[in-house]
Symmetry: C2
Subunit: 313 residues, 2 copies
C-alpha cells in the first residue's frame, strides 16, 4: 500500500455492480441446487406500510433481485394509517405460522421465509417495537439487538449479519484486501452501518476507530486509515488529502446533490470526493455502483442462508 | 490536559475504593428508602458451581458487599459435576418463579432477585448456553448478547450495563473527566470489558479506537489517547512514554506477578506501569483499589435498579 506522488497512480475502482452480479449468480446456482435436491426454495416476506415512492422503489428492486435468483418474494402491503399493534400482529403471524401463506409455501415450495419490514415506518409507529418482534431466525436484515450483540461478541455469531456492513467486508475480501491488523476508520456510527461495520472489522482483527459528528479531528484520524468506511451521509465530505496514499476506500454514502444538467435535477454522490480519491487511494468504490448493489446481494445471501439452515435442521 | 516535563507533575490518583464507598453509601440509603416505603428490598441469587477458591473468594466479597448495603443475597451451590441441563434448569427456575424461594421472598421481603452465575464454569459446561438462559430482566451482570447489542445501538438502552465497563465510566465522571469528543483508546476487546467499554464510550460521544493482540502499532495509537482504558491482561504492558501527558488512565488489568518479598509470593499489578504513569498521566487508577471495588459497587447498583424497576412496574 504505497505510491509516490509523481506517479499519479489511479486507484483501482471496486466494481460493486460486477461483484454483486457474481454473488447473485452464486446464489442462483445454490437456490437451483436446493430446489433440485430438496424440492424447496427460499422465500422473503416484505412488509410495506404506506406508499412512499422511495420505499416502493427499493422494494421493487428487492423483488426483482429475488426473482432473478429464484427466491420467492411476496409483499404484504399495509395502509399508511395501520395501527402499530396490527403491524406487530402481522409480524408475529409471519414468525409463528408460515402456513398462513399456505398457497405460497405449498404451491411455491418455500422452505423458509425471511421477514423484512421496509423502513422508514410512518411517524405514529415505533420502529424499535416492530423490529424487535421479528423472530431472530427470520431477521434477514440482521437489525435485531440480539444479532448486533452477537456480531460484536467474541465466540458468538449472529444468525444474520446486517446487509450493508456485510457487503462492505465482502467488497474488501473479493478485492483481495486483507483486514487483519490494518488500521480501519469507520466514519459514522449508525445502527445500520457504522456500528455493525465497526464490530465486523474488529472481529476480523482490524484495529478500528469510529469517528462521528462529535469527533473534533476526523480529518487527521481518517488520514491514518488503511481502510476507510465512509458512512456519514455527508456529500463529498472526505477529500483527497484526507486519504492515506494506497488506502482502500469503501463509500457507503448515497447523497442527492443538485445537478441542473440532469433531467431529474439531481445526481447521487457518496461521502467521498470520488475524483480526488481516485488520485490517492489504492482502491475506491463508486457511488452509485459500489456498496449499493452489494446490500441487495447480501439480503439475498442472508435469505438463502436462512433457508439452508432451515433445511439442514 | 497539559503538563511540561520540567514540572514532573504527579498524576491525580483516582481512588476507586473511596468512590466505591461513596456509591455503596448512596445505594444503602436507597435500599433503606425502598424498605421503608414499600417494605421490600432487592435480592441477588448467586449460583456457584464447584469449589474453586478464587470463585469462592469473589462470591464472599459480593455477599459481604450485599449485606453491607441491605441487599439480601443467597447462594445456590451446585457440585462441580452438575450436568449443564441441571444448571440451566436452576437458572430457569430463578427466572420464572421467584416464589420457589418463598422463605426468602416472604420472610426477607425481597422484591426482585438479580441472577449471577459465577464464572468460570467447569469445562464440561458451555458458558454461553447458561448465560443466554438468564432472563434479561435479571441479568445484573449485563452479559446477555441482547444487552450488549442495546448497549451499542443508538436509541436503545440495555436493562443492565456490564459492571466493570460501567465502573470505568463512573470513575471518569466522578473524577470530573468529560468523555465527549475525547480520543479514547481501549486496549483489549474481551466480551466482559474491552468490547462493552468501547460501546459505552462511543455512546458517550468519545472518538473510540480499540487496539488488541493483532494490532501492530498499539504504542503509537495509545499515545494519542486522552483516555486510556487498559484491559489487556498484560502486566505492566503500558509504559510511561506510551501515555500522552495529562491523559486519564483507567487500569482494568489485575495480573499476579512474582514477589518473593511477600508472604504470598506474589502481588497484583495492572496493565499499566503505575509508577511511570504517575509521572505523565493527568489521572491514573491504582491496582488494586481502582477499578476492582467499582465492579462490585456497580453489581449492587444494577441489583438495586432492577428492584426499583420491578417495584415501579
Amino acid at each position: 500500500m504505497a505510491s509516490s506522488e509523481e506517479e499519479q497512480k489511479k486507484a483501482t475502482i471496486i466494481d460493486g455492480k460486477a461483484i454483486a452480479h457474481t454473488i447473485r449468480s452464486e446464489i442462483a446456482s445454490e437456490v437451483q441446487q436446493l430446489s433440485t435436491k430438496h424440492g424447496k426454495v427460499p422465500g422473503l416476506a416484505v412488509i410495506i406500510v404506506g406508499s412512499r415512492k422511495d420505499s416502493q422503489s427499493y422494494v421493487n428492486m428487492k423483488r426483482k433481485a429475488c426473482a432473478e435468483v429464484g427466491i420467492k418474494s411476496y409483499d404484504i402491503n399495509l395502509p399508511e394509517k395501520v395501527p402499530e399493534a396490527e403491524l406487530i400482529q402481522k409480524v408475529q403471524e409471519l414468525n409463528a405460522h408460515p402456513d398462513i401463506h399456505v398457497l405460497a409455501f405449498v404451491l411455491l415450495k418455500i422452505s423458509f421465509a425471511g421477514i423484512l419490514v421496509q423502513l422508514p415506518l410512518p411517524a405514529h409507529i415505533n420502529e424499535e417495537n416492530v423490529l424487535n418482534e421479528i423472530s431472530i431466525e427470520k431477521d434477514v436484515d440482521g437489525f435485531h439487538p440480539l444479532n448486533i450483540g452477537k456480531l460484536g461478541m467474541k465466540g458468538r455469531d449472529p444468525l444474520f449479519q446486517p446487509c450493508t456492513p456485510k457487503g462492505c467486508l465482502e467488497l474488501l475480501s473479493r478485492s483481495g484486501i486483507s483486514v487483519k491488523s490494518k488500521r480501519a476508520v469507520v466514519v459514522g456510527r449508525s445502527n445500520i452501518v457504522g456500528l455493525p461495520v465497526a464490530l465486523l472489522l474488529l472481529k476480523a482483527d482490524a484495529t478500528v476507530t469510529v469517528v462521528h459528528s462529535r469527533t473534533t479531528d476526523s480529518e487527521s484520524i481518517i488520514r491514518e486509515a488503511d481502510i476507510i468506511i465512509a458512512a456519514a451521509g455527508q456529500a463529498n465530505m472526505i477529500k483527497g488529502d484526507w486519504i492515506k496514499p494506497g488506502a482502500a476506500v469503501i463509500d457507503v454514502g448515497t447523497n442527492a446533490v443538485d445537478d441542473p444538467s440532469r433531467k431529474s435535477g439531481y445526481r447521487l454522490v457518496g461521502d467521498v470526493d470520488f475524483e480526488q480519491a481516485c488520485k490517492v487511494a489504492g482502491w475506491v468504490t463508486p457511488v452509485p455502483g459500489g456498496v449499493g448493489p452489494m446490500t441487495v446481494a447480501m439480503l439475498l445471501k442472508n435469505t438463502l442462508d436462512g433457508a439452508k439452515r432451515k433445511i439442514e435442521q
